[in-house]
Symmetry: C2
Subunit: 405 residues, 2 copies
Amino acid sequence: MPKFAERMQGAQRSFIREILKVTADPSVISFAGGLPNPESFPVAAIAAAAQAVLAESGAAALQYSTTEGYLPLRQWIAARYKTKKGMDVDPGDILITTGSQQALDLAAKVLINAGDPVVIEKPGYLGAIQAFSLFRPAWRSVPLLDDGPDLDALDAALAGAQLFYAVTSFQNPSGLSYSEDKRAAVAALLRRHDCFFLEDDPYGELRFAGRDLPPVYAQRPENSLLLGTFSKIAAPGFRLGWIVAQGEIMERLVIAKQAADLHTGSLDQMLVERFLRDNDFEAHVERIRTLYGGQCRAMQASIARHFPKDVHVTAPEGGMFLWATLPDGLSSLKLLKLAVEQKVAFVPGAAFHVDGSGDKTLRLNYSNADEATIEEGIRRLARCMETCRSAGGRAEAEMQHGCQD
Amino acid sequence: MPKFAERMQGAQRSFIREILKVTADPSVISFAGGLPNPESFPVAAIAAAAQAVLAESGAAALQYSTTEGYLPLRQWIAARYKTKKGMDVDPGDILITTGSQQALDLAAKVLINAGDPVVIEKPGYLGAIQAFSLFRPAWRSVPLLDDGPDLDALDAALAGAQLFYAVTSFQNPSGLSYSEDKRAAVAALLRRHDCFFLEDDPYGELRFAGRDLPPVYAQRPENSLLLGTFSKIAAPGFRLGWIVAQGEIMERLVIAKQAADLHTGSLDQMLVERFLRDNDFEAHVERIRTLYGGQCRAMQASIARHFPKDVHVTAPEGGMFLWATLPDGLSSLKLLKLAVEQKVAFVPGAAFHVDGSGDKTLRLNYSNADEATIEEGIRRLARCMETCRSAGGRAEAEMQHGCQD
């Protein structure tokens, strides 16, 4: 058999997607996914938009369209940046992508040579690790603190780096956000080091506490790319995301996009634009914020009731995830084995680390379960932690089923 | 400014897409595109399918879904291969892609290292040239004769090659198809040379003359990939294509697909599956065949009436394209300049050649214009050919506007 391309060596299926297969069993309470709550999907409004678009512009909605994307949709995005973040974005500097996962692939194609130093947060977003890894970067990771990256570590990592990738608001997996001061400091570091900057902002609209902050991109647009998506504010099934970038970067992204899939679905773009135009978007997104804020507080309350006190958990102001750090001696991978037996699932933190560390950490998603389910799942998980901790203290002769390899 | 990735050096926007911008002027008769005729789009049936899917399965249609694709759609494709081509394809060996352009990108990611010899037909499909070129192959090209590739040239080109890419039925750009004998001979060569084989079949359903033939893939599935698309039999605006491949190849394609865009649009997949299930597909596709057969014959008749007799034009049995070869001394690039002034457009053949040749050739699309428009466009184009020919005979002092650079 002929050999596959070298970039596929060591490439693996997403660990999360493999866990999700286990959790297809409806008796398993899953905090493993990253799914928006389907309660938030505007199904009837989408159906109405589909009828309107197909009745009024059926041929255009079903035909090939431009690589750059549907102009009225790009204009909506630009206007939203103005209203929401006070940013002036030219619709011509927006490229519609097939979900923001494609934006990561296109950025990697345009920016990363094999061996290029690429900086990512620790923990970092798994989808970016996967997309970039196919282009074989030399990974560097920078610890993420409660208010953003460790600046000394970032300064050191940026020396000679090609690209810094960051999720600056309600990060996946940690739920953490960059403070206003950290945003300014990161922009200053980036200006000094002159490397590409890719700011991923899938959750920016989902703030349920604290005060809105503009992306770092607003302070350092040159050599930078800003990513957004409709997955969390309309629905992920459309696969609609976007990249904001200027000049030569955008020129090359368009070339890469042509080669990748010609353009993003015409009907999907027109349908979402119509949905946004015909409905009260602000009220819609406020319902999602209220929903997720309630679910987050429910999970935090359950955790306060049930988790061992030496488990540290982040306190997000938005988004979809909590991040837990276990006390010494506990492994999230071993915990998962027992947890799945006990019908509760999460994602072990090692998946979000490019340096092999992270085994004491885990990601908990709260957006896709109601409060009663959250309480029951957290209770089960807390019991598993206690079981693993006591198993860890025992002699090997008394090996406990589940927590050991 | 930091440097872009080396793979972007020399990468250019699609020449065709740039021509299409010129032809946005409605007074230009364009044979340049590769657009299906919007008359063939089942707009009302798609609208009905959208209502049914959103009413019955709204949450699933708007949620994230599996990377491999919607199983009922993959089952439909497998059943169609059985009915139409007598092939046994396991739905598990089908990956839904975001158009078949994405299939080309995924295949290139999985199969091509920089410098790997990759064999393509001469002329060859521009979308594949673009997708593969980003992965920097060493191109080899094999002349395409009226019944398929030159077998001696193919035998020589396959020695040590990593991949052979071919469009075996109603090829883009030439309209040519592999005969039954050539299919068997190509399969035998591929078995002997043991390289990957990527068979692209976007037009296979669009046969309006002659007898259906199974793809080469049916005779040599090992180390092979077969591509298909709904763009020409439902609508391109959905961006729905697929790859048939087995075992380790499929395993790696799924990994690459996860990194590329997680999965193809859920609503698009469910909507097209519903359209196929609720309607008479055979009757639908027969209408498209009849439409394109009539348009092809109309263009052939216009060409017979108007073109200079020493312009050679292919005689396709299906698909969307005719391919013309100009007599010595004429350049299609120079012809295009004059043609655009005279409000008619086509794609110069050089775009479909990886070796810099092809300047005497050009591609004519007949699927997206009615018979009267075809007649007028071909008449204009014939006049441009005569003008260029007489200009070519003159002294430089009498330079004719248009045909010269």
